[in-house]
């Protein structure tokens, strides 16, 4: 278990880290592409103006607003990248389910096949003493599998609650569960096992249940 968990973090974790960073860099390139084209258009307008041609001032205002919006989008993207990068700082720590879900939804938002998602934040947040990086990995993989299978119009709803004092439950609910095949795959099962989590299907939902503490993970990752 110990060596297997360490291998999991080292090999598969690196793949996951790379995959998320690739999607973030893709997002940033799109942002820069918009800023670049808008700046280019401003330059085009400047050249036209030098030639004595007139244009609506609202064009300048629109360009300025667009650049400001994209810069804010870029900062937001970098904030998420930074938050994700720091998920490897502590091998084990008290980890907020709400924060982890929120970040995973934002990170999967950069993928072309992402779907509309709502996290039910009506209840109080729950923390688990676990590997934040592996938990992020498990949730991200689950979201990706659902998004790939779900119809474009489906809205994914995520609920979480304390099933009992030792167990947390995350429920993923959307329109077409039957379309989700080949999940969990081997890699997802490995991550779930390391987290002492199980993935079950109910009539309409997918439920991930997870221990709130994990002694094996402590030993493997934190050497406790």
């Amino acid at each position: 278990m110990n060596q297997h968990t360490i291998d999991l973090v080292n090999k598969q974790g690196l793949q996951f880290f790379g995959s998320v960073n690739a999607s973030i860099s893709h997002e940033l390139k799109n942002i820069f592409a918009i800023i670049s084209e808008t700046a280019g258009f401003l330059n085009d307008l400047t050249q036209l103006s030098k030639q004595g041609k007139e244009f609506e001032l609202s064009l300048l205002e629109n360009c300025s607003n667009s650049i400001a919006e994209e810069i804010e989008r870029g900062f937001d993207t970098i904030r998420q990248m930074n938050q994700f990068a720091h998920s490897v700082d502590d091998p084990i720590k008290e980890t907020s389910i709400a924060d982890t879900l929120t970040l995973a939804v934002k990170l999967t938002g950069f993928l072309s096949y992402t779907k509309k998602t709502q996290i039910d934040a009506s209840g109080t947040d729950i923390t688990v003493l676990t590997s934040p990086f592996l938990l992020q990995n498990l949730i991200y993989r689950t979201l990706c599998a659902i998004y790939k299978s779900a119809d474009t119009k489906d809205t994914l709803k995520i609920f979480f609650h304390e099933k009992d004092p030792d167990t947390v439950s995350l429920t993923f609910s959307w329109g077409s569960l039957s379309a989700l095949t080949d999940f969990p795959d081997r890699q997802t099962t490995d991550v779930a096992d390391a987290l002492k989590a199980t993935i079950n299907f109910t009539d309409k939902d997918l439920e991930v249940t997870m221990a709130r503490t994990n002694d094996n993970l402590f030993t493997a990752l934190a050497g406790r």
Partner: protein, 118 residues
């Protein structure tokens, strides 16, 4: 010359269409592969500039659909991805990386439409 630009980044292709228009190239825009197919059903295009990664129909899947509808259409792919695997089915495809240089795009458009004039 009739061009269609396809990208789910609306601001990007709207701005690109304006810049091309200022240079004498009029382009339709489509914000998804599905919309591009719909437009191509009614309008013959000389060239399509396609984003690779889009929700729904991807750039490569859209290439197949457009070629089935309009076998003579020329294609240029635009991508935000760093590395492009040009092996296999994509060895003859033309790729430009985001952010684009407008002069490079226009030169590529002309070379793609009129390869004999290079």
């Amino acid at each position: 010359m009739k061009i269609i630009l396809v990208d789910d980044e609306k601001k990007f292709i709207n701005m690109l269409a304006k810049r091309l228009s200022l240079r004498g190239l009029n382009a339709d825009v489509a914000y998804s592969g599905e919309e591009a197919v719909e437009k191509a059903a009614h309008t013959p295009y000389d060239l399509a500039v396609l984003d690779l990664k889009m929700p729904g129909i991807s750039g490569f899947a859209l290439k197949q659909k457009l070629l089935e509808m309009q076998p003579e259409i020329k294609l240029i792919f635009v991508t935000g991805h760093g590395a492009i695997d040009k092996n296999g089915d994509h060895s003859d495809d033309i790729f430009l990386a985001k952010p684009l240089n407008i002069d490079t795009l226009i030169e590529t458009i002309h070379q793609t439409i009129h390869p004999d004039k290079q």
